[in-house]
């Protein structure tokens, strides 16, 4: 605090409760944050899906243009990131369904479920992209 109370012109902002910075990061807390982040990413990712569908319904020329963007290196990274976000958000959602029933609240289970969403989402993403990535770019 550099300024004294007398020097302040505005109202005094008092914190209502401690926020994230006072806690040591835990896996369930990180996966909760990632769940919201992947949700927000998917929100904008849906725009890409709508774009691709619209392109397919427009013309061959425009479809090839959009396809080339998705087939480029940054495009592929975005697509892989999108599928990972989708799988992670989905697994996080299933975990929330379990918690909605009042089950799975002991600390050990919470930790396992949190690590599970991360590991399983990465494994499934790798599994899904293994085949297409090796064949990617064969068709123009």
């Amino acid at each position: 605090m550099n300024e004294t109370r007398a020097q302040r012109s505005g109202p005094i902002e008092r914190p209502l409760s401690p926020h994230l910075q006072v806690y040591r990061p835990l896996i369930n807390m990180m996966m909760s944050i990632v769940h919201r982040m992947t949700g927000a990413a998917l929100y904008f990712g849906t725009l890409l899906l709508a774009w691709w569908l619209t392109a397919a319904a427009t013309s061959e020329h425009y479809f090839n243009f959009v396809s080339a963007i998705f087939g480029s290196l940054p495009g592929r990274i975005v697509l892989i990131g999108y599928t990972w976000a989708l799988l992670h958000h989905m697994l996080g959602g299933l975990r929330h369904f379990l918690w909605d029933t009042g089950r799975g609240y002991d600390l050990k289970t919470i930790d396992r479920l949190s690590w599970g969403t991360l590991i399983l989402s990465l494994a499934l993403t790798a599994l899904i992209w293994l085949k297409p990535l090796t064949g990617f770019g064969v068709t123009p």
């Binding site: 919201r36 998917l42 709508a50 396809s67 599928t83 299933l94 929330h96 369904f97 899904i128 297409p132």
Partner: protein, 130 residues
């Protein structure tokens, strides 16, 4: 939210006003569309990997398939409802200015409707084979 210097919490301002009588709808709808998306999302992940790098003819043939078209239609409708509800919570959590919040909530609804309508139109056009 009050800007005057005060020891009162925002809870004090709303106590005894009763509930907004619509929280459960939001919760239930988010779960219902979430459950649908869990199934339809797996289908989408498969479709993306399946059609990655596909040319125009292949993509159109696949999207012409009624099962794929139906899956995509359901996904886009359920997905757009789900993402609108989710983004609404994010906006309400982080945007505290009344004007900005209202504007963003309206934009959120507009975005979901536009994305949903454009996708549904494209899927139907592809499926009916125009």
């Amino acid at each position: 939210m009050t800007t005057k210097s005060t020891m009162r919490t925002p809870l004090k301002n709303v106590r005894h006003l009763g509930s907004a009588k619509e929280g459960a709808d939001h919760f239930v709808m988010q779960r219902m569309t979430g459950a649908a998306n869990a199934v339809l999302g797996l289908f989408l992940v498969w479709l993306i990997a399946h059609l990655a790098g596909a040319n125009w003819t292949t993509a159109r043939t696949e999207l012409h398939n009624p099962f794929i078209a139906l899956g995509l239609l359901l996904l886009m409708v359920s997905g757009c409802i789900h993402m609108r509800l989710g983004m609404q919570v994010i906006i309400e959590d982080y945007i505290h200015g009344e004007g900005a919040k209202l504007a963003l909530l309206a934009l959120n609804t507009l975005f979901a409707i536009l994305i949903g309508a454009a996708s549904v139109f494209a899927i139907l056009k592809l499926s009916f084979g125009a």
